[in-house]
């Protein structure tokens, strides 16, 4: 579903991501962990087509994000670490905007918004301007907008930050549902317990280089993910 091949991204002389390769198959929840500034966000942004990269290739469902970005983007959804949404819109206006862009038919959209907003308990606030939303509410709205067009792949940067425990639990459930239907999730997190329980596979990045990746069992063995991570970080 997502294939990253030899990705390299530089900011001036600083190499943010160095020859990184990853393959995320349909049905997989793939965790991406690393210290601050390790290159997680850069990788995610490159995969979504927000950021140009210097070398390598990225394919979404077999489509190159470089060669055919629009077709690739139609298959994915992205949630950044800080959901800076259009504060000049109301929640429902924003969802309709996203629905229009992805050409979700009005009747289908209405049904999905109803269902998703109910699940995230945001229905009552949809008419409010986004500027009046708390961080958690913005995150919920960003999640609803991400699921609205039923993407095959969702890339998320720290998706659990700001969510209340109920919403957090719901998100994990929805991630699993999407993968059970043949979709895939690639997300970064600093909450290693969540990654350990939720992910099918995990990749650890350090200073722009992929230092370990594979199934959860392959990566952590008999230790906890936290122990493995700290050990790798110290090397």
């Amino acid at each position: 579903m997502l294939r990253i091949e030899h990705l390299t991204k530089k900011y001036g002389s600083k190499v943010a991501v160095n020859d990184l390769s990853l393959h995320i198959a349909p049905g997989e929840i793939y965790g991406f962990i690393g210290h601050n500034g390790a290159g997680k966000t850069t990788t995610l942004k490159s995969a979504v087509g927000i950021q140009n990269f210097d070398a390598g290739e990225i394919y979404i469902d077999g489509i190159s994000i470089k060669e055919d970005p629009l077709e690739a983007k139609r298959r994915l959804a992205y949630i950044p670490d800080n959901p800076d949404l259009y504060t000049y819109m109301s929640g429902i206006k924003y969802l309709n905007f996203i629905g229009d862009v992805y050409k979700v038919p009005a009747a289908v959209r209405k049904e999905r918004i109803h269902d998703l907003a109910e699940r995230f308990k945001l229905t009552a606030d949809l008419a409010q301007p986004i500027s009046a939303y708390s961080h958690g509410m913005k995150q919920k709205l960003a999640l609803i907008s991400a699921f609205l067009h039923e993407p095959k792949l969702i890339l998320m940067d720290e998706p659990f930050v700001g969510l209340d425990p109920t919403a957090s639990h719901l998100l994990k459930q929805m991630m699993r549902e999407l993968c059970d239907q043949g979709g895939a999730i690639f997300f970064s997190t600093h909450v290693l317990e969540v990654a350990e329980k939720l992910c099918d596979k995990v990749a650890i990045i350090k200073d722009g280089r992929l230092i370990r990746s594979g199934t959860m069992e392959e990566v952590k063995g008999d230790d906890s993910l936290e122990e493995v991570f700290l050990e790798l970080e110290d090397k």
Partner: protein, 532 residues
């Protein structure tokens, strides 16, 4: 602490001058200084020179009859109105709507220090707008009367006092708008309406003042006597510029009192206003079936929603929509006699009136400049359009569409009104309609090009990119030059061509420039947007 906050304000204000977004590096000191000098030359050079000429015409006759105070009083009135109008549309946003209000209020910083740092931004705007009148006024006076220490000190105090009054009055108005906004549901519309009423009031007073200048100079002594006896303060204030010490002391005391009162009002209410969101009740959500829209409609609606959500955006970038309609009505109302008079002066055969109308309408239309800040206004939400399956060019076209939607119909209305007043021949009718509309396209493209070349996504207050950027100034200058050049070139070089051939050439040049800008936008402009 205040120094730190002011430094932060200045950094934000001058970010575009000291930081090169293209290379992601700080500019060299020489380059930054060059940018700032360029800004000053554009602003001071253009507006300052106009007021220098105005002051030169006024100063001599008034000073000769011993009425230097009247000269300064008149110049200060003009400076006050220009200064207030220059800063009033942004004061509310500058004082209360900064995104870092919560952050700063959570720190151990006294609210009054935050207010002072915000007011510093207003002070700079006040100084900039009133200074283009007061500084030339003082310079002309010193040239006319000769330099003495008292006159120099008086001149400097005069400049500072006018700035302080502009600051105080702007802040007071910003406070009033903020208080009203807290009670209103449709904040942006009401704020815009209030500001427009103020703006209209300003124009009424300003035009009356300009008309009055002529009669002042014709009967200067009687008029001066009337003013000095009826409005004592105006005389005392005018004497500040002459360097008369009692006037300086009295005026400083009065202005200080005004500033202190405004300061007290601001610091008493700042925290409440800055941290209170709208008092309107919670909007109730009702499920409805949305209409399916095309991508163009969707992106267009996004731009329009952004525009109508912000009074600062509407007032600073959409004023021409109203001005063009007013100008059209004025042309229908009083256009006939004015056109007859101009024809008598220049001769009907010259066709200058047609050219003047085309230049004038273009001059009003260029004040709509939504494309200039539109890219920067994406701010931290830029990731949304970048991650969605939309062509960058479509996003940019939506930005152009907004400016054209706001400008084309009012321009057409104004042109039709002008045509009714002028009664031109068929070919002239076509050109009267076509050239201003082509100019609309040129201005929109030029604004977008500037917006793409000078992007600032990390603003904490949108008014910085809407009003206080170099791009806005360059755009304004371009519009002024275009409108003025259309008339001036005809008068100086193209009289013999006649208006039809001349306007055909203008239309051709406008099309060519538009084509060049469009070519740049769809290639390099798109690339720039994608690299942000």
């Amino acid at each position: 602490m205040l120094g730190t906050l002011i430094k932060k304000q200045i950094t934000e204000l001058f970010q575009g001058y000291v930081f090169n977004r293209k290379t992601n590096k700080m500019r060299s000191k020489a380059s930054a200084a060059g940018m700032i000098v360029f800004f000053l030359v554009l602003f001071v050079g253009f507006l300052g020179f106009s007021f220098f000429m105005m002051a030169s015409g006024l100063c001599g006759p008034l000073v000769q009859v011993g009425l230097g105070w009247l000269y300064f009083a008149l110049m200060s009135l003009i400076a006050l109105f220009l200064g207030i109008i220059g800063s009033v549309f942004s004061t509310y946003s500058s004082l209360y709507l900064a995104k870092d209000n919560d952050l700063l209020l959570s720190m151990p910083i006294p609210p009054k220090t935050i207010v002072a740092s915000r007011a510093f931004g207003v002070l700079l705007m006040s100084l900039m707008f009133s200074g283009v009148v007061t500084v030339p006024a003082v310079v002309v006076y010193l040239i006319t009367m000769g330099l003495t220490p008292a006159r120099l000190v008086g001149g400097i105090v005069f400049i500072l006092l006018v700035t302080a009054i502009v600051l105080a009055l702007s802040c007071l108005l910003g406070y009033g708008v903020a208080r009203l906004s807290l009670k209103l549901k449709n904040k942006s519309y009401i704020t815009t309406a209030i500001a427009l009423v103020f703006f209209a009031l300003y124009y009424v007073v300003y035009f009356r003042l300009t008309e009055g200048l002529q009669s002042f100079i014709q009967n200067v002594e009687q008029n001066a006597e009337k003013i000095s006896s009826s409005v004592r303060f105006l005389k005392v204030f005018g004497e500040v510029g002459e360097g008369k010490w009692p006037a300086v002391l009295a005026s400083v005391a009065l202005v200080a009192l005004l500033c202190l009162l405004v300061w007290a009002v601001l610091i008493r209410s700042f925290t409440k206003i800055a941290t209170t969101s709208a008092a309107s009740g919670k909007a109730v959500y009702r499920e409805t079936l949305a209409k399916d829209r095309t991508l163009r409609q969707t992106l267009g609606a996004r731009e329009m929603t952004h525009f109508t959500s912000s009074s600062g955006y509407m007032l600073n970038c959409g004023l021409s929509t109203i001005m063009l309609i007013l100008a059209g009505v004025a042309l229908l109302w009083k256009g006939g006699p004015v056109i007859t008079l101009l024809n008598q002066v220049f001769g009907e055969a010259s066709g200058i009136v047609l050219v003047m109308l085309v230049g004038g309408i273009s001059l009003i239309a260029f004040m709509n400049d939504t494309t200039v800040p539109s890219v920067s206004l994406e701010g931290r939400s830029l990731w949304i359009v970048r991650s969605l399956p939309v062509e960058t060019l479509d996003v940019l076209k939506a930005k152009l569409d907004l400016q054209l939607k706001l400008t084309v119909i009012p321009t057409l209305f104004c042109c039709i009104c002008a045509g009714i007043a002028l009664k031109p021949a068929p070919a002239e009718w076509v050109l009267l309609l076509a050239v201003p509309l082509l100019a609309n396209i040129l201005f929109a493209l030029f604004g977008l090009m500037l917006g793409l070349r000078h992007v600032n996504l990390n603003w904490s207050n949108e008014i910085i990119v809407i009003k206080q950027s170099l791009s806005v100034l360059v755009y304004m200058l371009f519009g002024l030059v275009y409108g003025a050049a259309v008339v001036a070139v005809y008068m100086l070089f193209a009289w013999g061509l006649g208006p039809v051939w001349y306007l055909l050439i203008v239309a051709g040049v406008t099309c060519l420039l538009s084509f060049l800008l469009w070519s740049w936008i769809r290639t390099k402009g798109v690339r720039r947007f994608e690299e942000l």
